[in-house]
C-alpha cells in the first residue's frame, strides 16, 4: 500500500469532502496563499479557489464565531487553528456557542463545524504554544473530540468529522505531521467512538490518545523484552469514548495504565481511570496507573520538555509498578 504523510492524509480528507459537498470550505490563518503554516492545506487554494479556501486575519475569536454562524445557516466549515494553543482566545465561540447551540435552541439549530489544528507539546515551543487542550475542552458536553495517532486514522476520522452534524474538535500534532504511514487509496471513513487495538497483549492494557500512542507502542516493545505483554488501545476519539473497548480489554488483562498528554487534574486520563475502577473493580489486580504531562507549564529546554512529556521511560515505569514488577 502507498505511504503518505499525516499532513497529506488530512489534506486528502478535506479535499475529497470539498469535492463531494460544496457546503464544505476551509478557513484560517495562512491556509490559502501561504499554503498552510504547516503545509496541511498545500495546493488547496489552486484547486478550490479563494471562495472556498479562505485566508483570515489573526482573529481566532472572530473567524471561529463566523464559522459557527455559517454552520448554523447550514454550511460545513473547517476551521484551521494554526495551533490549538491559539484557540484559547476563541474560547467563547468554540465552547459557549458551538457545543451548546443545539441544546439551548431546543434542537432548532445545529452546528456542523470542524475545528482542527496542532495540539500538544514536544516542539520546544515554550509554555504558551504547547497546549494539550484535550484536558480543558473534553469537559464540555455537546462537542466531539478526535485525536488520531497515524495518517490512516487521520484521513478516515477527518472525513467522518466533516460529515458529522455536531461540532468536532480535531486534534492533530505538529510532531506527527511528517509521519508516514500506509493510507488506502480507496475512499473510507472511520466511525467515531471505535477504539483501535494498536497492539494485542495479555498482561496490561495501556489506554492512550493521539501522539502518546506511539510512546506506548515503544514502551510495549521495551517491556516485551522484559517478558511483559502489553495491549495498547488507541482511543481515536475522546468524545465519544469507546468505553466498551477499554472495559473488554481490562477485564482480560486485569491491569490498566492510562497515558494522556494533558495535565492529570480533571483529564481524559482521570475519566478513564474512574471508568475502569467502576466497571472493572473486581477484575483489577492493582489500581489504574496514570502517566500525564508533568503538572507544570511546558518548559522550553529540550531535556526538560522530554521529561515533561508522558515519555516511554515513564510509561514503562508505570506499567511495571502496576504489575508489581517495579
Amino acid at each position: 500500500m502507498r505511504e503518505i504523510e499525516f499532513r497529506d492524509a488530512v489534506r486528502e480528507a478535506m479535499s475529497e469532502e470539498m469535492r463531494r459537498d460544496t457546503r464544505v470550505m476551509l478557513l484560517g490563518e495562512e491556509v490559502a496563499q501561504y499554503n498552510g503554516a504547516y503545509k496541511v492545506s498545500r495546493g488547496m487554494l489552486d484547486e478550490f479557489g479563494p471562495r472556498r479556501v479562505i485566508d483570515t486575519p489573526i482573529s481566532e475569536s472572530g473567524f471561529a464565531g463566523m464559522a459557527i454562524g455559517a454552520a448554523m445557516l447550514g454550511l460545513r466549515p473547517i476551521v484551521e487553528f494554526m495551533s490549538w494553543s491559539f484557540s484559547l482566545v476563541a474560547a467563547d465561540p468554540i465552547l459557549n456557542n458551538a457545543p451548546k447551540m443545539l441544546y439551548m435552541s431546543g434542537g432548532q439549530y445545529g452546528c456542523p463545524v470542524v475545528f482542527r489544528g496542532n495540539d500538544g507539546a514536544g516542539g520546544q515551543l515554550g509554555s504558551t504554544h504547547s497546549w494539550a487542550v484535550e484536558g480543558l475542552y473534553s469537559n464540555v458536553p455537546g462537542l466531539k473530540m478526535v485525536i488520531p495517532s497515524n495518517p490512516a486514522d487521520a484521513k478516515g476520522l477527518m472525513k467522518t468529522a466533516i460529515r458529522d452534524d455536531d461540532p468536532v474538535f480535531f486534534l492533530e500534532s505538529e510532531r506527527l505531521l511528517s509521519l508516514k504511514g500506509e493510507v488506502p487509496e480507496a475512499e473510507y471513513l472511520i466511525p467515531f467512538g471505535q477504539a483501535r487495538i494498536a497492539r494485542t497483549g495479555r498482561d496490561c492494557t495501556i489506554v492512550s490518545f493521539g501522539r502518546p500512542v506511539l510512546f506506548c507502542l515503544e514502551a510495549a516493545d521495551a517491556l516485551a523484552r522484559e517478558g511483559i505483554d502489553c495491549e495498547v488501545l488507541d482511543m481515536r476519539t475522546i468524545r465519544p469514548l469507546d468505553a466498551a473497548a477499554i472495559v473488554r480489554s481490562v477485564r482480560r488483562t486485569g491491569a490498566c495504565v492510562v497515558v494522556d498528554q494533558s495535565w492529570s487534574f480533571g483529564s481524559p486520563g482521570s475519566e478513564v481511570a474512574a471508568l475502569v475502577h467502576r466497571e472493572c473493580f473486581d477484575d483489577l489486580d492493582n489500581h489504574v496507573h496514570r502517566v500525564h504531562s508533568a503538572d507544570v507549564p511546558a518548559p522550553y529546554a529540550y531535556d526538560l520538555e522530554q521529561e515533561y512529556l508522558p515519555n516511554t521511560r515513564r510509561i514503562c515505569e508505570a506499567v511495571r509498578a502496576c504489575l508489581y514488577k517495579a
Binding site: 471562495r51 486575519p57 455559517a70 454550511l75 439549530y109 466531539k144 460529515r163 466511525p191 469514548l241 466498551a244
Partner: protein, 393 residues
C-alpha cells in the same frame, strides 16, 4: 460615510448626556407608510410593551427565573428594523431579545412559555429569556455573552453570500441584521467581526442599540468616541450612520435605505441606533446611575406616543386605539395563561438535543450508555445535500 466628530469632546460629561444628543431627523416621507401598516406597527410596539410589563410581573411572581432583560422604550428599533428587512433575512441579537422575537413573528405564547421554563417555549424551556430562537422566522437567537452574537451574525452573512454565490452561482441576495448593545462595543470579538465583515464584503448590518448605558456605566464612561460611535465603522472600511431609534417611522425609512444598499452592494453597514431603555438593565437594577428627570424626559418622547400622535393626525380614532389596547392585553394575558398550562419539560429532555447523531450524552453511569442509544433522536437534521456514505473501516 461616518459623520465627523464635533470640534470638542467632553469625555467627562455625566450619565446620559450622549444618549440625549439625538441625531438630526432625516427628511423622510412619513405619510408614505400606508395607514394600516403604521397601525400594525403601533399594535406590535404596544404588544411588546404589554408583553414586557407582564414579564416583569411574572418575574415578581417568580414564574420567570434567572436573568430577564426587558425591551421597554426600545420597541421602535425592533419593529422598524424588522419591517425594513425581509423575512428571509437572518436576524441575530443579544439577551434583550423578546422584542426582536415578537417583531419577527414569534407567537407570544411560545416566547412567554420559554421564560416560564415550559415545554411550549420556543426552545422547549432550555434557553430562557436570553435565548429566543425561532428557525421558522429566521431568528438565530438571543445570545447571552456580550458581543458574542456579532461574529455569529457576520457568519450568517458569510453563509447567505456563500450559498447564493458559491453554491447557487447567483448573486448575494440576503441581508443579516446583527444587533448589539452599546456595552458590547468594547468587546474584542465585535471588533474582530467588524474587521472580517469589512474585509470579506459581507452583507451584514451591525445595529448598535445605543441606549446610553452599558448596564450601569454611561457610554462616555466606558467608550471612546461615545458621542459618535458610528465613527468607529470607518476603521473597518464600512459606512457608519446614526438613526433615531425612538421613532419607528424614521427607523423604518432609514433602515429600508440601509437594507437596500447592503442588499445591492454586499457591503456591511454599522448603525448607531439611538434609543433608551426605560427600565433597568435587568430586573434587579435600581437605576441609581441616572436621574429620574432623564428617564421622564425620554418617556415624554415615547416611541409609542410618537407613532400614536402621527396616526392621530391621520385619523386614528380613540376607539380604534382602545381596541388595539384591548387586543394586545388579551393576547398577552392569553400567552401567560397558555404558558401556565404548558407542562414542564419531561425529565428525559435533560438529555435530549445534546448531540444530533446517535451518540447520547455522557452520563458517566455505565459503559454502554456512553455509546448512546435511540432515545436521543434529534429534533433537527442538519442540511446534508449529498447522499451516500463512504465505506466504513
Amino acid at each position: 460615510m461616518a459623520s465627523a466628530p464635533p470640534a470638542s469632546v467632553d469625555a467627562t460629561s455625566g450619565a446620559g448626556d450622549c444618549a440625549t444628543a439625538q441625531p438630526p431627523r432625516p427628511n423622510v416621507p412619513r405619510n408614505e407608510v400606508p395607514f394600516e401598516t403604521a397601525r400594525g406597527w403601533l399594535r406590535e410596539m404596544m404588544l411588546i410593551r404589554e408583553f414586557e410589563l407582564r414579564c416583569m410581573q411574572a418575574y415578581q411572581d417568580k414564574k420567570i427565573g434567572g436573568f430577564c432583560h426587558v425591551y421597554i422604550g426600545q420597541e421602535a428599533v425592533a419593529v422598524g428594523c424588522v419591517a425594513a428587512a425581509e423575512q428571509r433575512d437572518p436576524i441575530v441579537t443579544a439577551y434583550r431579545d423578546h422584542g426582536h422575537a415578537l417583531a419577527r413573528g414569534m407567537d407570544p405564547r411560545f416566547c412567554m412559555a420559554e421564560m416560564f421554563g415550559r415545554i411550549g417555549g420556543c426552545a422547549k424551556g432550555k434557553g430562557g429569556s436570553m435565548h429566543m430562537f425561532d428557525r421558522a422566522n429566521n431568528l438565530f437567537g438571543g445570545h447571552g455573552i456580550v458581543g458574542a452574537q456579532i461574529p455569529l451574525g457576520v457568519g450568517l452573512a458569510f453563509g447567505t453570500k456563500y450559498e447564493d454565490e458559491v453554491i447557487n452561482g447567483g448573486k448575494s441576495s440576503r441581508v443579516t441584521l446583527a444587533f448589539l448593545g452599546d456595552g458590547a462595543l468594547n468587546q474584542g470579538s465585535v471588533h474582530e467581526a467588524m474587521n472580517l465583515a469589512g474585509l470579506f464584503d459581507l452583507p451584514v448590518i451591525i445595529i448598535c442599540e445605543n441606549n446610553g448605558y452599558s448596564m450601569g456605566t454611561s457610554i462616555v464612561r466606558g467608550t471612546t468616541m461615545g458621542h459618535d460611535i458610528s465613527a468607529k465603522a470607518a476603521a473597518y472600511g464600512m459606512e457608519g450612520i446614526a438613526i433615531d431609534g425612538m421613532d419607528v417611522l424614521e427607523t423604518y425609512w432609514a433602515m429600508r435605505d440601509v437594507v437596500e444598499r447592503v442588499r445591492s452592494t454586499s457591503r456591511p453597514v454599522f448603525v448607531d441606533m439611538r434609543c433608551y431603555r426605560y427600565k433597568g438593565h435587568s430586573m434587579s437594577d435600581p437605576r441609581k446611575y441616572r436621574t429620574r428627570e432623564e428617564e421622564e424626559a425620554y418617556e415624554r418622547d415615547d416611541p409609542i406616543g410618537r407613532l400614536k400622535a402621527h396616526l392621530d393626525s391621520r385619523g386614528l380614532t380613540e376607539d380604534d386605539f382602545k381596541s388595539i389596547q384591548r387586543e394586545v392585553r388579551a393576547t398577552v394575558r392569553a400567552a401567560v395563561e397558555w404558558s401556565d398550562q404548558s407542562p414542564v419539560p419531561p425529565m428525559s429532555d435533560l438529555y435530549r438535543d445534546v448531540y444530533l447523531e446517535r451518540w447520547g450524552p455522557y452520563t458517566g453511569s455505565s459503559a454502554p450508555e456512553m455509546l448512546g442509544g435511540g432515545e436521543n433522536e434529534p429534533s433537527f437534521k442538519a442540511i446534508r445535500p449529498v447522499e451516500g456514505e463512504g465505506e466504513l473501516l
